[in-house]
């Protein structure tokens, strides 16, 4: 930011000392007096400006606007004031910009005029900077054009490229009028084309020539060409010897090649991709570049993919192999990283070969070249932490026979005679992960006829690995994997020598095993992604015992390996699901998600948090303050952070990318999440919301047409799943992730509440009461109509249902119905009949709330357990009966539904109150009563209000009951019974629960479990305490 935004600018040195002193001391009255005198004696308008600016520092509204009026005049009169005057005015108006006054209408044009008149002055560049820092692209582009003209053919090439890039930026900005857009687009492309031609046609380019010289200039050209030029032009240039991708690569510049390949891929230009990859990789072999410059996995993948798509794919794939083999010959000179890339490239190439070329008899023998390659790769890399991730995708592509061979032949023989215990343990852990992976691959299952021997089969598949009847995933495989993993786990733990060797390994194999056990338990428990079609509460969808065992086991592992972020994040999610928000927060905090990474990572904890546990907002420091300050710090100005640095350094691709990033950040769903979660929590406790959401600077450019982007990073989750099914984080979330649809619905709902809850300032007494009342009414009706339409539109988008939980859908539906109902309620004259629609709307509102109410209050008091949920199946049933959660306590995991119910009921009450208040206001103004709200409408509203009030009363009672039930004794036993089954159950059932026993052993016995159960209950109690303070009226 330029310094003049803060302190007052220095006055011209010609100004006398007395005035200078008064000005720098801020003695504005003295300044006004002296400046007025000097203006009249010296006839210099500069003093007039000083006077106006000093006046603007005084309190009166008229004085404050003096500088604006003066600027307006200058703009209108096409005058060009001197720069000192401009600086003075800019400083005087600094608080107005971005809010009330557009820079582009005021100082921008003045600065552009000045720069045009003084293009050779070094100060002209300052004008450019000032306009850029206010993101006034129109003026900035004009200044850049003036500068370029004045500095054509100088060695400072930036002037030319500033002009071009600003012309381009303007052409893609909303600041450009539609009429000029085309002109600017053409202008940018033409100028760059000319420069490119000059480069192509000159033997050698001097810095003073107007061609393309640096990597940044060349890449700018291609970026603009891609967006505004034709595909043909792009392709023909990218092949050219000098400016083409290969030509640039020969000069050691790799950026263009990478960007070009990405572009060509979106166009499906596989022939050219193939050609470019081949040439690029050959250069490394021929000494045209440093050997491994382009030996990235990306390039190999694209090369192999392209080879499989070109006309003569067989010989193309042969060529891939040939080049790859040449690299493999020289791989000893490469670093470990490239060696590994080459091994992966080999895998990639093998997997892209057509099946026929690989092995015509593939079905008969599982030892296909693909399996051989995986084996060879693992042989070298199985000990590396990333081994599983590296091969996972390939293993999931294998056919069933190949899978069998890999798992039964290749892996077991991998270590041969090697007896190193640690290596064995690591391989074992990897094998365990792969076995889990395979349960998520459809090729391990075969469809089963629904009726066999006259008996209907309740499992749709037969597992090809264990031959048992199965659904997805195969439960008996999962159970076996779990038991084997636990055995391996216990063996490691029992072997001191082995435990001592763990710090030397890439990763503690116990961690891998625990993750396999934990996720297997979760799957066995029946946990599935919570999408709209899974409408039942947690305890009705999962087996409580297995679910709790999973949490307990993973929690115990975190104690052993507290530094593992994957495991920690997994647990954070599980505790949120379990309704233990305060404990989840304790686990979240050490991850130290702060500053820049918050936008991508904070949704993993904060999304929906106010509905789960508003009490968290009651801590000593504002819960989401770091997020809020991150945004205000980086989005407070209209210009992207550090944009001038990029201009000044001539980093043109950086400029484009920073602009794009800035746009994405402003449209981030996380921004909306931050605003909405905080507002909801504030309302829970009757706090004051400082600013209406629509007036918040962070929503400045957001309207219904803005696509909000989900930047959430799910990268740090462990993911044992194959791509055939949903990734693990979808199983763990409270509901669908952040989305454009949900963010807009939340935004609109908050606007609706802002309208309802608006209170005019206490001392507000308008003089023309009737006029103001009419205007207010008009505004209210317009807003209601807009909100009702927008809410309905978003709710009806085909993608919306999959983006919301059921409770959210109902809440937003209620709000859209309310907005529509209020519109009718407030616009129906007392003399007309009330339209039927109103009662339809209120009827729908009542039934929506009733359904939320039923969903929530009719939760069963006992969660399902193994015995009650699973079908009796001799091989797969996990035999254990569990304890139960008493009274209302199962609802502890369903608090988001509770929050939706409360919020919906409150919105109803506020809406009714709003109508009644409007009526009372009218009555006070116009005693005749003619302008008031229709009597039937009022009755309808009062009925709604009463219904909502009843629900809120129940809600209050519910929290009270939760409190009571949690303060009872015996909770530890209860949870342990739920997790492991009671002693008497075991005896009674006769069969012992192998899984439960195993888990208990792994975690170190009941004592450890008891301590854990204590933490769970404590966190529930804390959450309920927070709910106890929430306002229910």
């Amino acid at each position: 930011m330029a310094p003049y935004r803060y302190g007052p600018p220095a006055l011209k040195s010609s100004v006398d000392v007395q005035l200078q002193t008064a000005f720098s001391d801020g003695n504005w009255h003295t300044v006004i007096r002296l400046a007025t005198k000097r203006a009249s004696t010296l006839k210099d308008p500069y003093y007039e400006a000083i006077k106006v600016c000093a006046e603007s520092q005084l309190d009166g509204t008229a004085e404050k606007c003096g500088a604006l009026v003066a600027i307006d005049e200058l703009v209108k009169n096409k005058k060009t004031p001197d720069l000192d005057t401009i600086e003075l005015y800019e400083w005087a108006c600094r608080d107005f910009f971005d809010y009330d006054v557009e820079y582009a209408d005021t100082l921008g044009p003045l600065r552009a005029r000045w720069a045009k008149a003084n293009p050779s002055s070094p100060l002209a560049m300052q004008c450019l900077q000032a306009c850029l820092e206010r993101w006034d692209l129109v003026s900035a582009q004009q200044i850049a054009t003036s500068l370029d003209k004045a500095h054509a053919n100088t060695a400072d090439r930036r002037y030319m490229f500033w002009n071009i890039i600003l012309t381009y930026l303007l052409s893609i900005s909303p600041q450009c009028t539609d009429a000029s857009r085309k002109v600017y687009s053409l202008l940018a492309v033409r100028q760059l084309e000319r420069a490119a031609d000059l480069t192509e046609n000159s033997e050698k380019l001097e810095p003073t020539d107007r061609g393309l010289l640096t990597e940044e200039e060349v890449c700018l050209y291609y970026r603009v060409l891609r967006s505004h030029g034709t595909k043909e032009d792009f392709i023909s240039r990218v092949k050219s010897p000098k400016l083409g991708a290969i030509g640039q690569l020969k000069e050691g510049k790799k950026l263009l090649l990478c960007e070009t390949l990405d572009t060509l891929e979106t166009w499906g230009e596989w022939d050219l991709i193939y050609q470019l990859c081949r040439e690029a990789l050959s250069l490394g072999l021929d000494g045209g570049t440093t050997p491994f410059l382009v030996c990235d996995l990306q390039i190999w993948r694209k090369f192999a993919a392209a080879a499989s798509k070109v006309a003569d794919s067989e010989s193309a794939l042969g060529e891939v192999q040939t080049i790859l083999n040449k690299y493999i010959e020289i791989k000893d000179t490469a670093s470990a990283m490239y060696k590994k890339n080459l091994s992966l490239a080999l895998l990639e190439a093998t997997f892209r070969l057509p099946a026929a070329a690989l092995n015509p008899n593939r079905d008969k023998t599982g030892l296909s070249p693909r399996v051989v390659q995986i084996g060879l790769f693992l042989d070298q890399y199985f000990e590396r932490l990333s081994a599983f991730d590296d091969v996972k995708g390939y293993v999931a592509e294998l056919g069933f026979d190949e899978i069998k061979t890999l798992m039964e032949d290749v892996l077991p023989k991998m270590l041969g005679e090697d007896v190193d215990k640690a290596r064995k343990a690591v391989l074992n852990a990897l094998e365990s992960r792969l076995r889990y992976l395979l349960t998520t691959c459809p090729q391990t299952l075969s469809p089963q006829p629904s009726v066999v021997d006259g008996e209907t089969q309740d499992k749709p598949f037969q597992c090809r690995l264990c031959d048992n009847p199965a659904s997805i995933p195969c439960e008996s495989c999962l159970k076996k994997i779990l038991l084997d993993a636990s055995k391996a786990y216990k063996e490691i733990r029992g072997d001191k020598e082995l435990v001592d060797s763990i710090p030397r390994l890439d990763k503690d194999p116990r961690l891998d095993l625990a993750l396999v056990m934990g996720t297997s338990l979760l799957k066995l428990s029946g946990l599935r992604p919570r999408t709209t079609d899974v409408i039942r509460p947690l305890w009705q969808t999962v087996d409580a015992g297995l679910f709790l065992q999973a949490v307990l086991l993973l929690d115990a592992q975190l104690k052993e390996t507290p530094g593992d972020t994957e495991l920690r994040l997994l647990l954070v999610q599980l505790y949120l699901l379990l309704g233990c928000a305060s404990y989840a927060y304790q686990l979240w905090t050490p991850l130290d998600v702060k500053r820049t990474i918050q936008d991508a990572l904070s949704p993993l904890f904060f999304d929906r948090i106010s509905s789960l546990s508003p009490g968290l907002f009651h801590g000593t420091r504002p819960l989401m303050e770091p997020l809020r300050s991150f945004y205000s710090h980086n989005l407070g100005d209209r210009s992207p952070v550090r944009i001038w640095d990029a201009f000044s350094a001539g980093s043109y691709t950086s400029i484009l990318d920073i602009v794009r990033y800035d746009g994405n950040l402003r449209r981030s769903c996380t921004v909306m999440m931050t605003l909405v979660e905080e507002r909801r929590a504030t309302r829970c406790y009757g706090g004051k919301i400082d600013v209406e959401i629509e007036e918040h600077f962070l929503t400045e450019n957001i309207d219904d047409n803005t696509t909000l982007v989900n930047n959430t990073d799910y990268g740090p989750f462990p993911n044992l799943e194959s791509t055939h099914g949903p990734p693990v984080h979808e199983y763990l979330r409270l509901g669908p992730g952040l989305s454009n649809e949900r963010s807009h619905l939340a935004f609109l709902s908050e606007q609706y509440l802002d309208l309802l809850l608006y209170k005019p300032p206490k001392d507000y007494r308008p003089s023309k009461q009737t006029e103001v009342a009419l205007r207010d009414r008009e505004y209210t009706l317009e807003t209601l109509s807009r909100l009702s339409n927008s809410l309905t539109d978003f709710l009806h988008q085909p993608t919306t249902p999959s983006r919301l939980t059921v409770a959210e859908t109902t809440y937003y539906t209620v709000l859209s119905l309310l907005a529509a109902a209020l519109l009718i309620a407030l616009s129906t004259p007392r003399s007309d009949p009330v339209p039927k629609t109103l009662s339809l709307l209120t009827g729908s509102i009542k039934s929506a709330i009733a359904s939320l109410r039923t969903d929530f209050f009719s939760l069963p008091s006992s969660p399902s357990t193994a015995a009650s949920k699973m079908t009796p199946d001799k091989t797969t049933t996990i035999t254990r009966k569990g304890g139960r959660l008493p009274g209302v306590s199962p609802s502890l995991t369903e608090m988001p539904t509770f929050a939706a119910l409360r919020d919906a009921a409150l919105a109803v009450r506020h809406s009714a109150a709003f109508v009644v208040a409007a009526h009372d206001r009218e009555l006070a103004r116009d005693r005749s009563g003619r302008s008031g709200v229709h009597r039937d409408v009022l009755a309808e509203m009062r009925a709604l209000d009463a219904a909502a009030g009843k629900v809120l009363g129940e809600a209050k009672g519910h929290v009270q009951r939760l409190k009571e039930v949690l303060s009872e004794g015996g909770w530890l036993d209860r949870i342990l019974e739920l997790a492991f089954g009671g002693a008497e159950n075991e005896e009674e059932g006769g069969r012992e629960d192998e899984v439960a026993r195993t888990v208990e052993e792994v975690i170190g016995g009941r004592g450890a479990a008891e301590e854990w159960a204590g933490r769970v209950v404590e966190s529930w109690r804390e959450g309920v305490k927070g709910w106890g303070m929430v306002k229910m009226e």
């Binding site: 790799k254 990283m337 990333s386 991730d389 990474i597 952070v641 550090r642 640095d645």
Partner: protein, 190 residues
Amino acid sequence: MANFRRFRPDDLNKLSKCNLDPFTETYDLGFYLQYYAKWPSLFQVAEDQHGNIIGYIMGKLESSPDVYRFSEHYLPWHAHITAVTVAPEARRLGIGKLLTEQLEVAADANGAWFVDLFVRVSNHKAIAFYKSMGYSVFRVVKDYYGEHSTDPTLSSEDAYDMRKPMKRDVKRQHVRDDGEKHEVDPSVVW
């Protein structure tokens, strides 16, 4: 498994594998973007097959401000490594080294006398890493870091200022053998 390429701002949404590791500091947006704006080719990343960033280096080219030209602590034109980090799962594969080498190539191409960096004296892994690539301690900056990374009872920690001479420094004027013995106050370091 890895691609090497220039950083781009979208990568900031993919830093978790590196930055959730306690040894890697997370900076303000302006800090990353400043480097990307001014020295884009010195900001390089390694990414895995899913687009996660598994390593990055941030560097700059500069000399001390002109006013210090005659100070004994004046630094001539050189490259500086501001941050280098590799995700735990991708360590010991040479990624850190490759990233550093790329920066050294750029330093040579830009006529730098040396490449330097600061590292906590307790960060033995990183010190071993730099030493393996030819960096040596030039001086010890007392209490350079505000807190100690391993010992919470200490309120500060010293830094090694490590250097590697570039091609331009033919006579190795900018390195010394006994750097551990040269202690300086943080106020003389820019």
